[in-house]
């Protein structure tokens, strides 16, 4: 039962704006249903927690696209996303055979969901590697991605020249790419 009567649109907007109260509402409204689905399909509570996390991030990625429109109730949509993702996860774990995977369901919007989720996983993984860089490196790379000019960054960082700022950027980026590659090798 909803503790506050938020509409589906309010819930979507709350997710996009990262409103904590609304996020709590998602848990109150939808977590147990998805948990039950996971528990009754070879999963445990930890899997349910992780899956719901992923579902919210996928919904966020889709919802923040300007022309996104819900074609069903939000709960139904979330449940569909969770089913696609869990199906894919079970396939990865080889808990279900290739034949058992509902390929038709995956093709019917499920593939896109899986792709968004995989990209989210990569982005968060890269972010985790980024967080391990030095504070200066993080700041320089962030300023670049935020669109600051070389001259502005040189001034903000107090570097002696723009060339130094450029070199600093490339060194930091190389360091980040190398740490990502190294971590990926460990994972593989």
């Amino acid at each position: 039962m909803r503790s506050v009567n938020y509409s589906d649109t309010e819930l979507l907007n709350g997710l996009i704006s990262r409103d904590e109260r609304i996020l709590k509402e998602y848990y109150t409204l939808y977590f147990q249903g998805i948990r039950r689905h996971v528990l009754s399909n070879h999963g445990n509570n930890e899997d349910a927690k992780d899956l719901f996390h992923e579902v919210l991030l996928v919904l966020f990625q889709k919802a923040r696209i300007e022309d996104f429109q819900l074609t069903s109730a939000l709960g139904t949509y979330l449940y569909a996303i969770s089913k696609f993702l869990w199906l894919k996860e079970l396939g990865k774990r080889k808990r279900i055979s290739h034949q058992e995977i509902d390929h038709e369901a995956l093709a019917d919007g499920g593939d896109e969901v899986v792709q968004i989720n995989e990209k989210n996983e990569r982005l968060l993984f890269f972010r985790a590697c980024f967080e391990k860089l030095s504070a200066n490196c993080r700041k320089v790379l962030s300023l670049f991605t935020e669109g600051f000019s070389i001259a502005e960054i040189t001034e903000i960082m107090g570097y002696k020249s723009d060339q130094h700022t450029r070199n600093r950027r490339y060194r930091c980026k190389l360091s980040l790419i190398n740490s990502i590659k190294s971590a990926m090798t460990v994972i593989e």
Binding site: R18, K24, L57, L124, R127, S142, Y170, I177
Partner: protein
């Protein structure tokens, strides 16, 4: 670092025309290089996407709070549910045991007493010489005759009339009890036999006691039946041995 510079400037679209053409030519033929550019692009996206990382951290926070609260609730609810479950199981067991006892009492005990009744009961042999009704006989004689001939309904009609006329006609009550036993009116039989006083000074008194005990046995009233049987067995009368045997069986 030179490759990094080229890739970053390619993505920033700040490469010279010549360098850009070289990158695009390599992209078409070198998959590793193409993958590396894709990686740089996504890493930049990751660094720039503050919203995603903010939401990711917020979800972690809300999820942890929600699950902690839920666990607490479960920790409170589970013992209550467990207690309720135990109480329910106990209640079900009590009901089952009680039902078993009731069923045993109603059916199996009844069957046993009925069996014993069948084993020990024989139709009382009335003290009549003639089985046809001589002229000048009394109503009681006629009733006894009917009883002896197995005409129990007729006997009961006459006996009912007699006890209505004279409630102290204990011999009529006695035969009424016997007739009731023959017609499976056990409750009425008990009532008839009990109407006769304990102190009934009659040669029929012992018979009354025996048939009353059997009537009670048939009703399943083992306590009262046993008490009467005990009295009969210690009186050294006509039924003493049968009464003792039956008493012992009921005492098992």
């Amino acid at each position: 670092m030179e490759t990094t510079r080229i890739i970053e400037e390619y993505l920033d679209q700040t490469l010279s025309m010549e360098e850009r053409d070289a990158v695009e030519a390599r992209l078409a033929s070198d998959k590793d290089f193409s993958d590396l550019i894709a990686l740089h692009k996504e890493v930049n996206e990751s660094i720039g996407d503050r919203e995603l990382i903010e939401l990711h951290h917020l979800i972690e926070k809300v999820s942890a709070e929600y699950l902690r609260r839920n666990r607490k609730q479960e920790a409170v609810i589970k013992p209550i549910l467990y207690k309720k479950f135990i109480i329910r199981i106990a209640a079900i067991l009590i009901i089952m045991v009680a039902s078993g006892m009731i069923i045993k009492t109603l059916f199996f005990d009844h069957v046993n007493t009925e069996k014993l009744f069948g084993k020990y009961y024989t139709t009382y042999e009335a003290d009549v010489i003639s089985r046809s009704a001589p002229s000048g006989t009394t109503t009681l004689d006629q009733a006894v005759l009917n009883y002896t001939n197995g005409e129990y309904s007729e006997a009961l009609n006459l006996l009912d009339a007699l006890v209505q006329q004279d409630g102290k006609n204990y011999l009529a009550w006695f035969y009424k009890g016997l007739s009731c036993l023959e017609t499976d009116q056990t409750g009425e039989a008990v009532h008839s036999f009990r109407t006769i006083p304990e102190s009934w000074d009659s040669p029929y008194a012992e018979h009354r006691n025996w048939y009353l005990a059997l009537s009670l046995l048939r009703q399943g009233d083992i306590t009262d039946a046993s008490q009467i049987l005990s009295g009969i067995s210690s009186a050294n009368g006509y039924y003493d041995r049968q009464a003792e045997k039956l008493y012992l069986k009921l005492s098992d």
